[in-house]
C-alpha cells in the first residue's frame, strides 16, 4: 500500500477527511520550506502538495503566479524541490508529499531520471496540471513502477465517460477542480460539487480531493462533508504574500488558517 493509500485508509477508519495544503516550494525563500512542512503536519494536515515553480503557470491565478515568481527569484529548481522533500523525510516518514506543477521541468530533467530521484527523495505522488491522461500513456506507468501515484484532475466540464477513463489511469486520489477557472477563484458552489461527486463515485473508488475556491473553516467543512479531501492553496499563499519580510509571521498565519480548517472539518 502506498503512503497515500495508507493515509486515506486510516482517515476513513477514523471517519475523518484529509486536509491537503498546497504551498509553492521555495516561496518566498528555500529556507522557509522545511520548518513550514513540519509545522503544517503539527497543525493537522494529512497530505502536503508542494508546488514546483514554473515560469508560465497557465492554470494558476495571480496569487500562485506571484508565489512562483518569488520562488524563481531564488532559482528554485525541480532538483531543489526534491532536496526539500528528502530533507523532510529524514524526520517524517508518514505524511505523503505530492508534487504539483507543470510538465516542462520534468520533461527537461527526463522522465526516467525524475521518477527515480523523486521516489528516492520520498515523493509519493505527482500531479502535473498540463498532462492529461491522453498524453500520459507512457509516463503514468513509468511513475507507478517507481511507486509514485499519478494524480489526475477532474473538472466540472469532464463528462462521466471521460472521468471513468481518467480514473482508470489514476492512483492515490483524484483531484476534483471545483469550478471553471484558475486557482484562487472565488465562487465555490458546494451543492454543485456534491452533485458532481455523487456521479463520480459511480465510476471510481479512489478518494476524491476537492480544491479551488476553499478559503476558510466554513468552506473547508462544507467540502469535507461531501469529499474525501480538502485542498487549500491560494489562501495559504496569501499569508506568505502578506508577510514576505517576516517568515515567522507568514508561517504563523498559515498554521492559524490550517488549525481553523482542521477544527471546522473535524467538528
Amino acid at each position: 500500500m502506498s503512503r497515500i493509500e495508507q493515509c486515506f485508509a486510516a482517515l476513513r477508519a477514523e471517519g475523518r477527511k484529509a486536509l491537503i495544503p498546497y504551498v509553492t516550494a521555495g516561496d518566498p525563500s528555500p529556507e522557509m520550506m522545511l520548518p513550514l512542512m513540519h509545522e503544517l503536519v503539527e497543525a493537522g494536515v494529512d497530505v502536503i502538495e508542494l508546488g514546483v515553480p514554473f515560469s508560465d503557470p497557465m492554470a494558476d491565478g495571480p496569487v500562485i503566479q506571484l508565489a512562483m515568481e518569488r520562488a524563481l527569484a531564488h532559482n528554485v529548481s525541480l532538483r531543489d524541490v526534491l532536496d526539500m522533500v528528502r530533507a523532510f523525510r529524514t524526520t517524517n516518514q508518514t505524511t505523503p508529499v505530492v508534487l504539483m506543477g507543470y510538465l516542462n521541468p520534468i520533461e527537461k530533467m527526463g522522465y526516467e531520471v525524475f521518477a527515480e530521484q523523486a521516489a528516492q527523495a520520498g515523493v509519493d505522488g505527482v500531479l502535473t496540471v498540463d498532462l492529461p491522461p491522453e498524453e500520459a500513456e507512457q509516463v503514468a506507468p513509468l511513475f507507478r513502477r517507481h511507486g509514485l501515484d499519478c494524480i489526475f484532475l477532474l473538472a466540472p466540464t469532464t463528462t462521466l465517460e471521460r472521468a471513468r477513463r481518467i480514473c482508470e489511469h489514476a492512483s492515490g486520489y483524484v483531484y476534483y477542480v471545483s469550478l471553471k477557472g484558475v486557482t484562487g477563484s472565488a465562487a465555490l458552489n458546494v451543492t454543485e460539487v456534491a452533485e458532481k461527486l455523487e456521479q463520480l463515485r459511480s465510476v471510481t473508488d479512489l478518494p476524491i480531493g476537492v480544491g479551488f475556491g476553499i478559503r476558510d473553516g466554513a468552506s473547508a467543512a462544507a467540502i469535507a462533508g461531501v469529499a474525501d479531501g480538502v485542498v487549500v492553496g491560494s489562501v495559504l499563499v496569501n499569508q506568505i504574500a502578506a508577510n514576505v519580510g517576516d517568515l515567522e509571521q507568514a508561517r504563523a498565519g498559515i498554521t492559524a488558517v490550517i488549525r481553523d480548517m482542521r477544527a471546522a472539518m473535524d467538528r
Binding site: P53, F54, S55, D56, P57, M58, A59, D60, G61, P62, Q65, E69, L72, N75, S77, L78, R79, Y102, L103, N104, P105, I106, E107, K108, M109, V129, D130, L131, P132, E134, E135, F152, L153, L154, A155, P156, T157, T158, T159, R162, I166, V177, K180, G181, V182, S185
Partner: protein
C-alpha cells in the same frame, strides 16, 4: 533528409494531434471537453462544401483575396541573383495574413454559438484581425497583450479599441506574447461556456495547429497557382518568417510534396543567435512542453521558459508551432535566422527600392531572401511571404532613427 521523399505530409497531425513527437494536447482538464468539441465540429465542418464556400466567399469579398504575387524586379536586379517574388499578404484587409485565420475561426465560433471571443497578440496584427471579425459578426472581443507590446505597438492598440475590442495589458512574466497567451488561457478556462479562443498561430493544443494551418494554406495554394501562371513553373525556394509560424506553414504546406522547392523558415536572430538574445527556438532551443503542445522551446537547464528578444513583437515568442518542429527534424524545411540589424536594413531596402513597406516580422524573411538570392542564378525564383505591412512599425523604426513622431 534522405527519406523525405517517402513522407506523407497529409498524415500529420494524427488523430491525437501529434506531428511525430510534437504537438498534442497538454492542457488542464477543464479545457479538454471544449477542445474535443472544437475538434469534432472542425472535422465535421471542414468536410462540408458549404463551410468551405462560406470561408472562400469571405476571403474573396471581405479580405480581398487572392493577394497578388509580385515580381520585385528592381530589388532582384540590384542583388543580381535569383528573382525575388513577393506574396503580398500585406495587401489583405487589416494588413497581414492573420485575418485568413481569424475569418475561419470566427466562422467556427458562429457555428458554436459563442457570443464572446478572446485572443492573444504580440505585434497586434492578430488582435486587430480578431477585433475586426468580431466587429463584423457582433461578437464581444477581449484581446490580451503583453504590457511591453502595448507600449511598442500603440497604433494597433488604438485600432483594436476603435474596432470595439477591449485590450487587456498583461503585466506578468516577461510582459510579451507568451504571457498574453498564458492570460488568454486563464480567461478561457474561466469563461469556457460562452467564449471561443481565437489562437493566432499554428501552436497551442490540438486541434489549433491543424485548423490554423488549414485556414492559412490559402497563401501557399494561391502562390503555387500564381507562380505556375505568371512564371510558368514552380519556385526554387520559399522564404517566410517564423515566430509561431502561421504565415510560414501557410506558404510551405501546399508545396511540401514538391521536392524541388527548397524552403527556408526565418527565425528572429535578435542581437545574433550566438549572443543568446534572440527568439530562435528551432535554431537554439530544445523540445519541451508549453502552451498546450510539445515543440522546440527556449528554456533553461531547469525547464523554465527564458525571455526572448526581437525588434519585432510578432516574432518575440519562445516556442514555435509543432509542425515546424517536425519539419525541422525530418529535414524538409531549413530553419535559419535574420538579426534585428538585417531585418531593419531589409525594411529600408524594400521600402526605398520597391515602394513596399514590410512589417518588421516580414522584413526578416526579406533579409534572408536577399542573402539567398545572391547565391542563386537569375533564372531561379524565390517566393517570399510578405506577411504584413509595416505601418504599425513606423514608430519603432523612427525611434531607432532617434525621431519622435
Amino acid at each position: 533528409m534522405s527519406d523525405s521523399n517517402s513522407i506523407d505530409y497529409t498524415s500529420v497531425p494524427d488523430q491525437h494531434g501529434h506531428f511525430g513527437p510534437y504537438g498534442g494536447r497538454f492542457v488542464s482538464e477543464t479545457l479538454m471537453d471544449a477542445l474535443d468539441e472544437l475538434e469534432a465540429l472542425y472535422n465535421k465542418l471542414s468536410g462540408e462544401p458549404e463551410f468551405q464556400a462560406e470561408f472562400d466567399r469571405d476571403l474573396a469579398h471581405y479580405v480581398g483575396r487572392p493577394s497578388p504575387l509580385y515580381f520585385a524586379e528592381r530589388l532582384s536586379a540590384r542583388i543580381g541573383g535569383a528573382q525575388i517574388w513577393l506574396k503580398r499578404e500585406d495587401l489583405n484587409h487589416t494588413g497581414a495574413h492573420k485575418v485568413n485565420n481569424t475569418i475561419g475561426q470566427a466562422l467556427l465560433a458562429k457555428h458554436m454559438g459563442k457570443p464572446r471571443v478572446i485572443a492573444e497578440t504580440g505585434a497586434g496584427q492578430h488582435g486587430v484581425a480578431t477585433a475586426t471579425v468580431a466587429a463584423r459578426l457582433g461578437l464581444k472581443c477581449q484581446v490580451y497583450m503583453g504590457a511591453e507590446d502595448v507600449k511598442r505597438q500603440a497604433l494597433n492598440v488604438y485600432r483594436m479599441k476603435l474596432l470595439g475590442a477591449e485590450v487587456i495589458p498583461v503585466t506578468s512574466g516577461s510582459k510579451t506574447l507568451k504571457d498574453a497567451m498564458n492570460e488568454a488561457m486563464r480567461d478561457w478556462v474561466t469563461n469556457i461556456d460562452d467564449t471561443f479562443y481565437i489562437i493566432g498561430t499554428v501552436a497551442g493544443p490540438h486541434p489549433y495547429p491543424q485548423l490554423v494551418r488549414d485556414f492559412q494554406c490559402v497563401i501557399g495554394r494561391e502562390a503555387r497557382e500564381q507562380c505556375l501562371a505568371q512564371a510558368g513553373r514552380l519556385p526554387d525556394a520559399l522564404v517566410a518568417c517564423v515566430g509561431g509560424g502561421s504565415n510560414a506553414i501557410g506558404l510551405f504546406h501546399p508545396f511540401l510534396e514538391d521536392q524541388d522547392v527548397a524552403m527556408y523558415g526565418v527565425e528572429a536572430g535578435g542581437d545574433g543567435v550566438e549572443t543568446g538574445r534572440h527568439a530562435a527556438p528551432l535554431a537554439a532551443g530544445q523540445p519541451g512542453v508549453l502552451h498546450g503542445n510539445r515543440t522546440y522551446l527556449m528554456a533553461d537547464e531547469n525547464g523554465q521558459i527564458i525571455e526572448t528578444h526581437s525588434v519585432s513583437a510578432g516574432l518575440d515568442y519562445p516556442g514555435v508551432g509543432p509542425e515546424h518542429s517536425w519539419l525541422k527534424d525530418i529535414g524538409r524545411v531549413n530553419y535559419v535566422d535574420a538579426t534585428d540589424t538585417e531585418a531593419l536594413a531589409a525594411f529600408r531596402e524594400l521600402t526605398r527600392i520597391e515602394g513596399i513597406m514590410p512589417a518588421l516580422e516580414s522584413s526578416h524573411a526579406v533579409a534572408y531572401a536577399m542573402k539567398l538570392a545572391a547565391t542563386m542564378r537569375p533564372d531561379q525564383i524565390i517566393v517570399v511571404n510578405l506577411s504584413g505591412r509595416g505601418d504599425k512599425d513606423i514608430h519603432t523604426v523612427a525611434g531607432i532613427d532617434g525621431i519622435s513622431i
